[in-house]
């Protein structure tokens, strides 16, 4: 983290206060649809996410797909998830961010050490 400057001594507590509330709001919205934060990471927008999705166990992929289908269904019916189901949700439980970080570290290492790109695909 960067060295705390004079200004950040004032802005940092404000930022933390806002961050906690923002995270709670996002969590509430995700719970309504029964999604996790990592489900929002889109492989069609980021090749690193696509690569990371290839590395996680198949069980996680299947659960992710089912959550996304459930959320699409709820959205189509203009409904939210049941109250007792919403209580069970864990929107910030991560399954993808570690592998995503690993992919980004590898790409960075590849760029620094001068290896050729592992694959060369463009997003449509």
């Amino acid at each position: 983290m960067s060295k705390p400057s004079v200004l950040s001594k004032f802005t940092q507590p404000l930022f933390e206060w806002a961050a906690v509330r923002y995270q709670a709001m996002v969590g509430k919205e995700l719970k309504k649809y029964g999604l996790r934060h990592d489900d929002l990471l889109d492989p069609t927008m980021d090749l690193d996410v696509r690569e990371a999705l290839k590395r996680i166990p198949q069980a996680e992929i299947e659960a992710r797909n089912q959550r996304i289908k459930r959320a699409m269904d709820l959205s189509m019916k203009h409904k939210y998830l049941d109250k007792e189901m919403q209580a069970k949700q864990t929107p910030f439980k991560s399954y993808l961010l570690n592998d995503l970080q690993q992919v980004q570290t590898e790409n960075h290492e590849r760029a620094t050490l001068g290896g050729k790109a592992k694959y060369n695909r463009q997003l449509p």
């Binding site: 290839k54 590395r55 166990p57 590898e106 290492e109 590849r110 050490l113 001068g114 290896g115």
Partner: protein
């Protein structure tokens, strides 16, 4: 007289090296057109300084540089061994030369596998030097390139080795990279899947019978550990299975670090900390192997029919005298392929050449093979011929095996030639520092100590014709192992007849 001749011919080099001032005088006398740059600072150097591009003269030694002491190798290097507290053994020999070879030798192989994790040693050999807990594959490659080192992994039925060769001064990097790969390789589900898919493709492309005969020989001959196929057979290998295997078998007493061309203290200092994490347990025991012999025939459409007839060499390497007699016997029998350019030292005077290949022109190949392991081994004759002659070929192979087991069948001259040839093969192989390192590592794993070159030489020289005949006779008492591949494989005489021929 030589000096005057040189002077007169105008070659002043030797003079100028001895006395620079005299050279100047001589130059002016002969008017040499070569502008020898003189590096003595002129008058103006003190005012204007020396020119920027004046390099030191290459004709005088550099001032202020300490030349290293001249190296003399009047004593043969000694093998030194240290055992760490967790059982890891470190052995090294300070062979002369600029390169060093370091290896990690582990007592693990396909002998320790069961049907659930079959092929895991093959997998480990293929994924050596890839992702580890501390560095990615790319990092490893770049670090290896930066020091210009060669890395090699070789797996087998009983021993696994990871070796590195490089310049002596890079010893710390070599040892660290080897320790990382041997102990901390990472097996993520993703990488394991990619590697298994690559292995499946390769095995499908290369699964030709001529390459698989050695596998079949062991699978037929042995029941248990050594009968387990080394090559991966397509079974599912999860990361948990692989990690369990590695953890169960990579233990202190089963790891040996060998190096040639390094100082022992330096190596111990480096390895102590890197290998200190290994547990001091004995690890998982090997699956016991039982020799049973047998028959395996494959009717494969190829040009030649191949036959391998083998027997058990009881005692393996650990019966040192017998295994050395076996090695001399293999040199004595020799053999090879009929399409051979020949020449001195090619072995065309060995028994299988003079008695078989030179008499029967239709024989494509006839050679003695051996595959000796720690406690047991296989040895026999492999032959191959073109169509129509397979039963006759099998007869000839049986005759040769019975002949070598007969007392008095080996001549004095051919025995001496075989012994000298074996000794020179051993000595010539040990010229390479890589082979010295391998020799030390594998011998410590098998014997617990290294048999010195002098001992080996004297044992070879003491072998008599009766020793070889006895060794062969003992071998022939076991049940034969017959593997045949080719269009005529099924038309060979039945296994029972082959057994009767040696009864």
């Amino acid at each position: 007289m030589l000096r005057t001749a040189l002077q007169q011919s105008g070659r002043l080099l030797s003079d100028s090296l001895v006395a620079p001032r005299a050279a100047c005088a001589v130059q002016s006398r002969y008017g040499s057109s070569v502008a020898l740059p003189s590096n003595e600072p002129g008058f103006f150097a003190s005012l204007f300084g020396a020119p920027a591009n004046s390099a030191p003269s290459m004709r005088e030694p550099l001032t202020g540089v300490e030349t290293p002491p001249e190296v003399t190798y009047d004593k043969a290097p000694v093998t030194e061994m240290t055992t760490l507290s967790n059982g890891v053994r470190i052995v090294s020999e300070n062979t002369p030369g600029p390169t060093a070879t370091v290896g990690v030798y582990i007592d693990v192989g396909s002998k320790y596998e069961n049907p659930q994790n079959g092929g895991v040693t093959h997998f480990l050999e293929r994924t050596a030097f890839k992702d580890t807990a501390h560095r990615t594959h790319l990092s490893f490659t770049r670090e290896a390139e930066a020091i210009g080192a060669n890395f090699m992994a070789a797996g087998g039925r009983e021993q696994m080795s990871y070796t590195a060769t490089g310049i002596k001064t890079n010893l710390p990097q070599l040892v660290e990279l080897l320790a990382d790969t041997a102990l901390y390789s990472k097996f993520t589900p993703y990488n394991v899947q990619i590697e298994l898919a690559a292995m499946a493709r390769e095995l499908k492309a290369e699964a030709k019978p001529e390459l698989l005969v050695n596998e079949w020989l062991h699978q037929v001959a042995y029941k248990g550990g050594l009968g387990q196929s080394y090559l991966w057979n397509g079974s599912a290998l999860d990361p948990e299975i692989i990690v369990d295997f590695v953890e169960a078998n990579h233990t202190g007493p089963r790891v040996v670090i060998a190096a040639s061309g390094v100082e022992h203290k330096a190596l111990v200092g480096l390895s102590e900390r890197l290998f200190a994490d290994l547990p001091a347990t004995a690890g998982q025991p090997a699956v016991p192997s039982q020799y049973e012999g047998g028959d395996h025939r494959v009717n494969y459409p190829q040009a030649f029919t191949q036959v391998l007839l083998g027997f058990e060499v009881a005692g393996g390497w650990r019966d040192v005298k017998n295994s050395i007699a076996m090695s001399v016997m293999v040199t004595l029998m020799g053999g090879g392929s009929s399409f051979s350019a020949g020449g001195p030292g090619k072995g065309m005077h060995s028994r299988l050449y003079t008695r078989v290949l030179q008499r029967y022109g239709w024989m494509e190949e006839c050679t003695m093979f051996q595959s000796i392991h720690n406690d047991t081994g296989l040895a026999g004759i492999a032959a191959s011929c073109s169509a129509g002659k397979a039963p006759e070929m099998l007869e000839i192979v049986q005759k040769e095996l019975r002949a070598i087991a007969t007392k008095g069948a080996i001549g004095e001259a051919e025995l001496e030639r075989a012994k000298k040839s074996t000794v020179s093969n051993v000595l010539m192989a040990l010229e390479s520092s890589g082979v010295v390192c391998d020799d030390m590592g594998r011998q410590i794993l098998t014997f617990g100590q290294r048999i010195s070159v002098e001992d080996m030489k004297s044992t070879i020289e003491k072998i008599t014709a009766n020793d070889i005949a006895a060794c062969a006779a003992a071998m022939l008492k076991s049940k034969p192992t017959l593997v045949s591949v080719g269009p005529e494989a099924l038309s060979l005489p039945p296994y029972a007849e082959v057994c009767k021929a040696f009864a």
